[in-house]
Point group: C2
Chain length 182, copies 2
Amino acid sequence: MAKIEMPVSQIRRYLEPGPIVLVSSALDGAHNIMTMGWYMVMEFTPSLVGCVIAGGNHSFDLIRKSRECVINLPTTALTDTVVGVGNTTGAEIDKFDRFGLTAQKADRVAAPLIVECHANFECRLADDALVDEYNFFIFEVVKAHVAKSPKHPETLHYKGDGVFMVSGKIISRRSHFRPEML
Amino acid sequence: MAKIEMPVSQIRRYLEPGPIVLVSSALDGAHNIMTMGWYMVMEFTPSLVGCVIAGGNHSFDLIRKSRECVINLPTTALTDTVVGVGNTTGAEIDKFDRFGLTAQKADRVAAPLIVECHANFECRLADDALVDEYNFFIFEVVKAHVAKSPKHPETLHYKGDGVFMVSGKIISRRSHFRPEML
């Protein structure tokens, strides 16, 4: 999938609507992928994303120790992969192999990009103050790669209980916004 | 809009898909409403939601001082209201009046519920450790009210630049989940 670099201050376009994402990580030659629904945009510049990564996840140690990850945006073409990644553990299988995903070397972090995803955001841990109490990590996105098209990929939004909402139509109310609010 | 109480541990059904929400607050007889897109579910029990509320917002002081708010879920029936609330300031107008919204007394907090919204989550500030550095508030949802129907309301998901994604179709992959992952 051909991708272009996007300013990291613009990742809200993809993350603020709340799609489920795949988080890839690496440490000492091992790598893993987890699904993540509990995250948010926190700042434009620096480009900050807050995430909850439960301590029971195999990825938790990889990310905490390496202090890096990649947030990858899957589309509905990867629905079965998203479900599979979320229902297996990297302690038992290699998820890239199992789900036929392609790992690509990132530019700024050791964690791999997932080629089949629409976008890849390379992240470094910026603040771990609330990791012990809430499993809450604040990452800075240091590089963003996005597929050239489509502009509005069909994304998956998790509702719990095995149910997803698929992204629907796009509407603009741009003319009703004050310029400084855009 | 007739609503029923929902266990607070289940709010992910409505918030995890990432819809834009309206946050109502009150302090010393004043009240206000703001739109919010930067938030996330952080825990089931206690029911925690993390939110970024920019310091420039009129709501910031009301919420910080009262240590309470209500997170209200608007549907696409309120699209123009969501845009209007986000492009005006409570320092100049009464947003309930301006946008024809009905304030209803909450059960556990002083901030009002917005009757026209599909769901209302009464919140108390649980942790302000990162408010100074990131404008990041962690709230505990102490009571949840939800409209009896529809089960999957049509919600608005903000992409920036005045553009929204409207929630689309619902798909279930429940049979592919391990029971403990549901």
